[in-house]
């Protein structure tokens, strides 16, 4: 902090900001660009054919499919939840409103692995609800429902956090105007509320997607890492890495990286439109 303050002191040359900017670039290169470049370099180390073979490995394909499925289910659910929560908090005064605001933030402050363990203790075979679930032939842990639950938990805040400040800043006058003009609840939402928050909503959904696709910690606890069944892409990558199949791991990682980069570009575009 003190160095920053110094740069504003009269008489100080332009050196300090230049130094800081340079430092930022160097650090970004070391910590961000280099590993990314390394992933692609290693992924293509064996040539294009090997890369393709690695990517089209049935286990990897299954992991890609499972990860996509998780995202396709989790993101819409969280969009709906995020809008509902933000709407309720921004528009209404009700007991427990502050509590709800805090609860929405919890997934950000809790390590995902702890979330995974909580779910395991609750729904696992030895868990609190385990016997009941077993009796009704419901399988949540080490299966798709468990992965979905944990991913939803971890990504729950993204949409609500993006949409809420906008809704609060905008106030409810436009919605009230729509009501006096005769619009019913659904019309108010679809024609006034939604268009107003659409960019923030998309932005939140993009962040949510990125996280849903990349989530590792929580999912690794509840998925059981069953090859070809409950392995999402991040888990599959770790598995291949542990199997000393580094080229394969890097190839799989490169697909995840491409997804992340695409999301990043969408995010940048959305940000510039806001």
């Amino acid at each position: 902090m003190s160095t920053l303050a110094l740069s504003h002191a009269p008489g100080q040359s332009r050196r300090m900001p230049q130094l800081l900017i340079g430092l930022a670039f160097v650090l970004t290169a070391i910590f961000v660009v280099a590993p990314l470049a390394f992933i692609f370099w290693r992924a293509f180390a064996g040539g294009w054919a090997v890369y393709l073979a690695n990517i089209t490995d049935p286990l990897v394909l299954h992991a890609i499919w499972l990860t996509t499925l998780v995202a396709v289910i989790v993101v819409p659910v969280n969009v709906a939840f995020g809008i509902a929560a933000a709407w309720a908090i921004a528009r209404f005064r009700f007991p427990g409103r502050k509590l709800l605001m805090v609860l929405i933030e919890i997934p950000f402050s809790i390590s995902p692995i702890i979330a995974g363990i909580c779910y395991l203790l609750l729904y696992g075979r030895q868990g609190l609800l385990g016997p009941w679930l077993a009796a009704h032939d419901l399988k949540i842990m080490f299966a798709l429902p468990g992965i979905l639950l944990v991913t939803m938990f971890v990504t729950a805040p993204f949409v609500a956090r993006e949409v809420l400040p906008l809704m609060q800043a905008q106030g409810s006058e436009q919605e009230q105007a729509a009501v006096t003009l005769g619009a019913r609840g659904w019309q108010v939402f679809s024609r006034v509320t939604l268009p107003n928050i659409r960019w923030a909503l998309l932005y939140g959904a993009v962040l949510c997607t990125a996280r849903a696709v990349g989530e590792f910690g929580g999912v690794s606890v509840v998925s059981g890492s069953i090859r070809g069944q409950t392995n999402t892409l991040p888990l599959q990558i770790e598995l291949m890495f542990n199997d000393l199949n580094t080229t394969g791991a890097f190839a799989a990682a490169s697909t995840l990286t491409v997804i992340a980069l695409v999301v990043l570009v969408i995010k940048a575009v959305l940000e510039s439109r806001r």
Binding site: A177, A178, G182, P195
Partner: protein, 366 residues
């Protein structure tokens, strides 16, 4: 559509915002709600619109109970202070909104809606702006769009919350005359909220003065100016001078005060307070006068004299070229002759506005 409001009360989190409002507005009337910030004007308007609900009281419009009618079904036109236009729609779509959200069975055809919008755009004198977005408009233009959007549903009651609050003086004056035309042409019952006395008196058939959740007085400019119903109204109408006086057989008496121009009042003998506007006081030069001139400033046309008698300090205004104004310079002493004023029984309260209730609410005039 006549509007009848009865014994209406409303509080937010235990704070009373409306403390028993009784008001009847005739069909086709144009009424102004005038009052200081926080007096409950917007709250009252929102309750009439169905955007808020009272704790108790009645609201009947054209004989029908409106408190049990959803806002959507009241068919009122509401114009918000900050316009509340839909930013993602063009001016045209904003104005058409109230028609396009109607249930299919009642919705006019596309061509009918387009024709109606065009007609409104012409009427509002913004025909060339139809395809713009609200952010591309000036404040006055936005105001017209907001009004157009409200008028499109052919409301029988038009409610405007400080419609010209955010505009500069010239535009305000323009829009004021124009709003009167709109009102006369559409024949709607109109209530508008304002802070601005001039606006209220110039535009409205009747002015309702509100203070701290109560109706303090209802009347036209002359009635409210000359016969304020309470110290609150007197102060709000610009009577900034409050002189302690004695009432004696209806006559007003105080040292240094020439009360010959004041009417006699049927008030009980005893202490009273005389409320004066700075322009309604004539200074009479007198070497042994009660007040001393502390400062003299001029804006060219008007002269302002700051006076003190040691205990109280206030300013009076007079035309700079008036004969009485000659020879009045700082240090000179004067007595005062009020040309008009209002007396309320009871001693002067040290905190203006805070303790209006200490006074009886109605001045008894002769």
């Amino acid at each position: 559509m006549s509007i009848v409001i009865e014994h209406m009360t409303k509080s937010f989190d235990g704070t009373s915002v409306l403390r028993g409002i009784d008001l009847t507005i005739e069909s086709g009337e144009l009424v102004a709600l005038l009052g200081p910030s926080g007096s409950g004007k917007t709250t009252l308007l929102k309750i009439i619109a169905g955007l808020d609900w009272p704790d108790a009281g009645g609201l009947r419009v054209h004989g029908a109970d409106w408190l049990h009618l959803a806002a959507q079904d009241r068919r009122i036109g509401f114009v918000f202070q900050h316009y509340a236009l839909f930013p993602h729609m063009t001016v045209r779509d904003n104005i058409a909104f109230g028609l396009t959200v109607r249930p299919r069975a009642e919705r006019p055809g596309k061509a009918v809606i387009a024709a109606k919008v065009n007609q409104l755009l012409e009427f509002l004198q913004i025909g060339h702006l139809g395809d713009r977005y609200p952010t591309q408009l000036s404040g006055g233009q936005r105001q017209r769009v907001a009004l157009g959007r409200a008028l499109a549903i052919e409301p029988t009651v038009l409610l405007l919350d400080e419609p010209f609050g955010a505009l500069d003086a010239a535009v305000r004056r323009d829009l004021r005359a124009w709003l009167r035309e709109v009102h006369d042409e559409t024949g709607s019952t109109t209530i508008f909220v304002t802070h601005d006395q001039e606006e209220a008196f110039e535009l409205a058939d009747r002015v309702v003065v509100m203070g701290e959740g109560r109706i303090e007085q209802i009347g036209n400019a002359d009635q409210i100016h000359d016969h304020p119903a309470s110290p609150f109204v007197a102060r709000f109408m610009g009577a900034t001078i409050e002189l302690p006086v004695m009432l004696n057989a209806g006559r007003t008496e105080a040292q240094g005060l020439d009360a010959s121009r004041l009417q006699r009042r049927a008030l009980p003998d005893g202490p009273g307070t005389l409320f004066l506007r700075p322009a309604d006081v004539t200074p009479l030069a007198d070497p042994s006068g009660r007040w001393q001139i502390v400062r003299r400033t001029s804006n060219g046309a008007l002269l302002r004299l700051e006076l003190t008698d040691g205990a109280q300090h206030f300013g009076i205004d007079l035309p700079r070229r008036a004969p009485e104004a000659q020879g009045l310079s700082p240090g000179a002493r004067v007595n005062l002759r009020p040309e008009a004023g209002t007396i309320f029984p009871g001693p002067r309260t040290s905190q203006p506005t805070a303790a209006t209730t200490e006074f009886p609410r109605k001045e008894k005039s002769l």
